[in-house]
């Protein structure tokens, strides 16, 4: 599996994502700078990492969505390559129009960084096939603009087509904190209609190793590998 990790100005999750693909899964992973281009055939999966790209100026993801590399990302997306947007990467996918809706500032206007409990609503995707349906997993959320918003028609479509992949079901270590985000339908992750693009707010790459005290995120990366290699679990 060949993985591209895009580096925007200010990306901070790029190193962690690359580390998971390379050092934990033993796959090939290359950085692609936002001023560069690539061909769809160059990679199997493209990761848009987290971190306030381009200073989060204008709106989170708005400036990154119009960089040169995004033309290549769109081309790869249209040719069916897997695209994974994490945190700010999700916001970039929304601003680029590759996923519907947008992110509003958290309900309490604060940056939220803590563990969250999310429920796997759809495990029939290339990104979640190693989770059980309705399984509750623990991930790390780290964002200020995490309140998913879309018009009623889009929400209805996401629900009827089963494109809501992960939903929040608890905040904080014990999952008993008040919801600081107020995301519509508790959305934590959505996929596009074709299913090859996933945007998620929590960070699976930050809980993918024993040393970090949580490996629930690792199965997302293993799911991707499973999707390409078929039938083989790590």
């Amino acid at each position: 599996m060949r993985c591209a990790v895009i580096q925007f100005a200010g990306s901070s999750g790029d190193g962690d994502c690359c580390h998971v693909f390379k050092n934990i899964l033993g796959q090939s992973a290359d950085y692609v700078f936002h001023k560069e281009t690539f061909k769809p055939a160059d990679f199997d999966i493209v990761v848009l990492p987290g971190g306030a790209s381009h200073g989060d100026y204008l709106r989170p993801g708005a400036l990154a969505a119009h960089t040169k590399v995004m033309e290549s990302v769109k081309e790869a997306a249209n040719s069916g390559k897997l695209i994974l947007g994490i945190g700010n990467g999700f916001q970039i996918l929304l601003e680029a129009g590759l996923l519907p809706g947008t992110m509003l500032i958290n309900k309490d206007i604060k940056f939220y960084a803590d563990e969250v409990l999310v429920k796997v609503e759809n495990n029939a995707t290339p990104f979640t096939n190693l989770y059980k349906k309705d399984e509750v997993i623990r991930l790390i959320l780290s964002c200020k603009y995490g309140s998913y918003f879309a018009d009623a028609k889009t929400i209805e479509q996401l629900k009827s087509q089963n494109k809501i992949v992960l939903t929040y079901c608890g905040f904080g270590k014990n999952g008993d904190e008040e919801d600081p985000v107020a995301s519509m339908e508790n959305i934590a992750a959505i996929a596009n209609q074709e299913g090859n693009i996933l945007g998620l707010m929590p960070h699976p790459e930050r809980c993918a190793e024993e040393i970090l005290g949580n490996t629930d995120g690792l199965r997302m990366f293993q799911s991707i590998l499973q999707y390409f290699e078929g039938g083989k679990t790590l």
Partner: protein, 82 residues
Amino acid sequence: MLVAKIFTFPKAGVLDPQGSAVKPVISNLGFTSVKDIQTGKYFEVKIDACDVAEARKTVQELCSKVLVNPVVEDYEFEILEA
């Protein structure tokens, strides 16, 4: 040279947590006549255009492409001589 003054603001029905946070502070300051407050953004764009109609078209394209998020924001603008 023309200058476009562009205002963006949340669409009706979209939560504006910043506005909601500012409102009680203003009440505490004793401005009893202030009933509501909404936050937005302001852009000033210098445009080298032949006439206002051309500049207007540029502003509309600029807004729909990048300055405004049509999912949650509306915008208004005026064009003046720089």
